[in-house]
Symmetry: C2
Subunit: 283 residues, 2 copies
């Protein structure tokens, strides 16, 4: 006996897909539902990604995920579903409606949360565009079509993550601060500027950084600069003066001091420890 | 002794990068050139992707690729260079100018043509956006940053390919027709419609299809429908009537005939040949 519940749209219905490797795309294209009043589908082994252009209703059932309970989800233009393998779906439509589909195989094990069903607003155009590019590329260059679908599924996953801090593992102000720092790492910037750009106060941003990254903003910034400096010292032949400027500490005296403290040796020492094997004499 | 030539911008300067697998991103960020009137760089093992925000000049030298000849390329905002490993570069700028850089390791062997230096027009905003997203994601989720850079490099490669038919291996009208067919595969469409959408005449489109794909448009279309039908018959549990409609041949009698001719068996036969192993009894 199957119990049935109407899905509470405010509670995301999540499945876990390993997004860190490009999925294989088995088939993709346009299709039509609702030629019959009730249509049932089942796909074992593969994930089904659908972007709907119409209104209707789908009933989902999955023995493991929802212990066989049937979940009733509304469909409207801009709705997207990503059904894990072995999901039973039953569509009810008043009249035929088109949609795009893609059948995917994810490779890998670590799964990120992706909503089984969600409704796009302003992101719809971008997502639809990626889907159409994938459909158009599928026959000629499947790896390129796979890249488009992969990007699409990542966006679906991030869209939910942005909504709730726990899911994303991050406060949006911290993410904004990290982006701002990354894009200006070659310039001297103050914590005040970073806080202003992130839309929260200096004090609050430091509290958020502590909670999420275990260090205040200033330490995080220095860490980033030093990580970049170590890389440039060991991978490039740039002069130390030029590296100092590229990591936002143009004062060479200060740069030497900070490198010594954080990397355990002066710049020439960090470089020498690595340089002999990377750049044989003469290069 | 190094000979020196000014690069003829109309002749693309091409290197071959294996684009079919996601590259590894070793480092990415903003940086500044031109603190000194002449600056020299060299990176062994890694590719260097640069998007410039300034005007200037770069001299490139690569023993293997250009037999040591020094090639002089102008730099302006929107210029992008992708230098293969072991390229020597020498920058000459009147005053400091910013740019974004990424250091990449490509995995794989088959290389697609990518321009060593090109100048973006309307694509600049999109490419710059991808670069900034990559820089922002690099510290927190490097695989996501790698996806952005991969997409960026693919676009750089396709941008050149679009310009010349040989490089791309395809006439743009054929690509447009293929995209149109893929997006309407669930509908009956005529060759006239496809030609209209592709911007060339029926006769000319058939000639192009023959030259590139070895078959006229009509055969290509049927092939696509049958490839989709075979997949749906063997991978889904959709009814044959519904599959017929989904591949744009809703007339069941005609669908049976076409399947029999192209797949060597009637729909039930195609399905039976595969179904026993994929859907064990009870599913």
């Amino acid at each position: 006996m199957t119990s049935e519940i109407a899905w509470d749209v405010s509670e995301p219905l999540i499945a876990h897909a390993p997004l860190e490797a490009k999925p294989r795309l088995m088939q993709t294209g346009p299709a039509t539902y609702g030629r019959n009043p009730v249509e049932r589908y089942f796909l074992s082994e593969l994930w089904q990604l659908h972007l709907y252009h119409h209104h209707g209703e789908v009933r989902l059932r999955h023995e493991e995920l929802w212990s066989g309970t049937e979940i009733v989800c509304p469909i409207r233009p801009g709705a997207v579903s990503l059904l894990p393998p072995d999901t039973h779906s039953e569509y009810r439509l008043d009249r035929p409606g088109g949609y795009y589909y893609a059948h995917l195989a994810f490779e890998g094990t670590r799964g990120a949360g992706v909503p089984v069903m969600q409704y796009l607003d302003h992101e719809r155009v971008g997502v639809e565009g990626l889907f159409e590019e994938a459909i158009g590329l599928f026959e000629s260059r499947v790896w390129r079509a796979e890249m488009k679908i992969w990007e699409l599924v990542c966006r679906l996953s991030e869209r939910v993550a942005t909504g709730s801090a726990e899911a994303a593992g991050g406060h949006p102000a911290v993410a904004r601060a990290q982006q701002f720092i990354a894009l200006r790492l070659d310039q001297p910037i103050s914590v005040e500027e970073i806080a202003r750009e992130s839309g929260v106060s200096h004090v609050h941003l430091n509290r958020l950084f502590h909670a999420e990254l275990g260090a205040p903003v200033k330490s995080y910034l220095t860490e980033r600069r030093m990580s970049r400096a170590r890389y440039l010292l060991t991978h490039s032949q740039q002069s130390i003066k030029s590296i100092a400027a590229d990591v936002g500490i143009p004062d060479l005296h200060l740069f030497n001091k900070v490198v010594r403290r954080h990397l355990g040796a002066p710049p020439t020492g960090v470089r020498a420890a690595d340089v002999s094997e990377r750049f044989p004499a003469g290069k």
